[in-house]
Symmetry: C2
Subunit: 293 residues, 2 copies
DNA sequence: GAGTGGTCTAGACCACTGT
DNA sequence: CAGTGGTCTAGACCACTCC
């Protein structure tokens, strides 16, 4: 851990590995599958292997590199972990579009959402939270929502401070851009059923997309939020998350457990939001009190 | 993405995979290396393969499971990506201690650090930020610090809003518990040299551990912080990060780019803090303004 | 020197995708 | 159907660790 002027580079490329390689060279001391991986990475980044196009097949690569197919597969596994290619059974291996990291400003977002509750509906409908994040309009976005009633298991009960078995409204939703396949995040939200049953619009997915977000929905049943606590962790994706978010098995997800407290200090919503780790940045701002204040 | 009553489980175990497996069964439709991986996972979680002990060697596993060594290695690769085992060249593969996730409350931490600046030194010295996080005392902790002067590259210059080539003080540090090998995080911090040169204590690692943290250090040269912005992302570890933080290549790190602004709205510190993804939770709190205020 | 994990080969069969 | 990636085998040599 001595020489690291390039720490910052790691944030941008997600990778920083040795010098350039112009072929699989037996004089190089690194394993040959890694040399091949880095050569292919260079060809992708130079644009020679363009985004969306098929890579040479494994047998072709084995022939052209002089390596066995096993070694070629090791190289491709490396590229997949780097998020550079996507393998599809029976079809081929494709160069991924270079992923632009989407920055989500959570701290500002929540206050913005709260302020918006006081606006009239026409105004709210114009732009929602996702549109705020992405700069896209509602016509570019495709919503998925799924509502159900469940009973609190031990973990949820503890998180809400309610008895096990308490009815909860469970909402699963994600939003995709119409021009891209994979959603930007997947969200699993839980609300105590008793809190929201006063407004029938909250109980069914038929009314989605609801203009104004969860804070507005809660305001219709008399709930004002005081603070939101978010616990961020990185973990491997579940198989279905990998599919939904279009990430390789080796790429982590950012998992945010969001807990909302109302002004009476009750937990009124718990949401698990899952982001693809290779294209998401979460931004938090901590405002500090003045010493002389 | 239909049936997900177990979303929450994913947060705790980092893994949730099919039912239990009591052997590598050819009737099972899953690949046999995965069956073996899950069988071994069950044996680890049951305690049969205790933490810290060596796994059966690859050849032993090949013999006992009736699979080839290649398939056994695939299974072990899976276990490594799950963070359950650590392979050491020439020695063996060892069961990892089950990792307790450490929760780091960033939002509260920074205000706490700021408040502490106003305390006297004896008080400050009693507990530092790391001790605050971990509950350990200074005697249990081992500090590493390394200072150097560097010139701002393009990225750093842009982040600071200063010309390329501006001298920066670069500080690399990490803290380990004396009882554990791997540090909880690694930190790479940059300060404009001109800002801190007024206090020679800030320019050398000899004075570490400095009681009071960066905010106190900055206060000695007349700087008061206004806010801290943190951008969180998940990415694969660099090879040396994997070694330092004791994680497998397949496990992601949480990378936090922390930017500190002073009350004159200058960027006064930029720090990249890297956490092992398999045992870190970052907690952020967003306090919302009252509607009636 | 014996044992370990890391790399590598030259095959094979499979499920899946296109035409 | 031919071609693709996914799985699997039965070997081999290497660097490394420990005795």
């Amino acid at each position: 851990m001595s020489d690291r002027h390039d720490r910052s580079t790691a944030r941008q490329t997600s990778q920083r590995l040795g010098g350039s390689v112009s072929g699989v060279n037996s004089r190089d001391w690194r394993p040959r599958y890694l040399q091949l991986a880095e050569e292919l990475r260079a060809r992708i980044e130079s644009g020679e292997l363009a985004r969306g196009t098929a890579m040479p097949s494994e047998t072709e690569l084995a022939d052209s590199s002089g390596l066995s197919r096993t070694s070629v597969r090791n190289a491709i596994r490396q590229l997949r972990e780097w998020g550079l290619v996507r393998a599809e059974q029976g079809r081929g291996t494709y160069v991924r579009a270079p992923r632009q990291r989407i920055r989500r400003r959570n701290t500002e977002r929540y206050q913005w959402e709260k302020d918006r509750v006081l606006l009239d509906e026409a105004e709210r409908r114009r732009t929602g939270g996702t549109e705020h994040d992405t700069g896209l309009t509602v016509d570019d976005l495709k919503f998925h929502a799924e509502y159900s009633e469940v009973k609190a298991d031990e973990e949820m009960a503890a998180a809400f401070g309610l008895p096990v078995g308490t009815p909860l409204l469970r909402r699963v939703y994600w939003t995709s851009s119409r021009h891209e396949t994979a959603p930007l995040s997947a969200s699993y939200s839980y609300l105590p059923y008793d809190l929201v049953k006063g407004n029938k619009h909250l109980l069914s997915a038929d009314y989605e997309p609801w203009p104004g977000g969860t804070q507005h929905q809660l305001s219709t049943v008399g709930i004002e939020l005081d603070r939101i606590e978010e616990v961020v962790q990185a973990r491997p994706p579940l198989p279905d998350e990998a599919e939904l978010l279009d990430i390789e098995a080796g790429v982590a997800v950012l998992d945010v457990r969001k807990t909302s407290y109302d002004i009476r200090d009750r937990v009124v919503e718990i949401a698990d939001v899952v982001f693809p780790g290779d294209r998401t940045e979460l931004c938090f701002t901590t405002k500090l009190k003045r010493w002389n204040a």
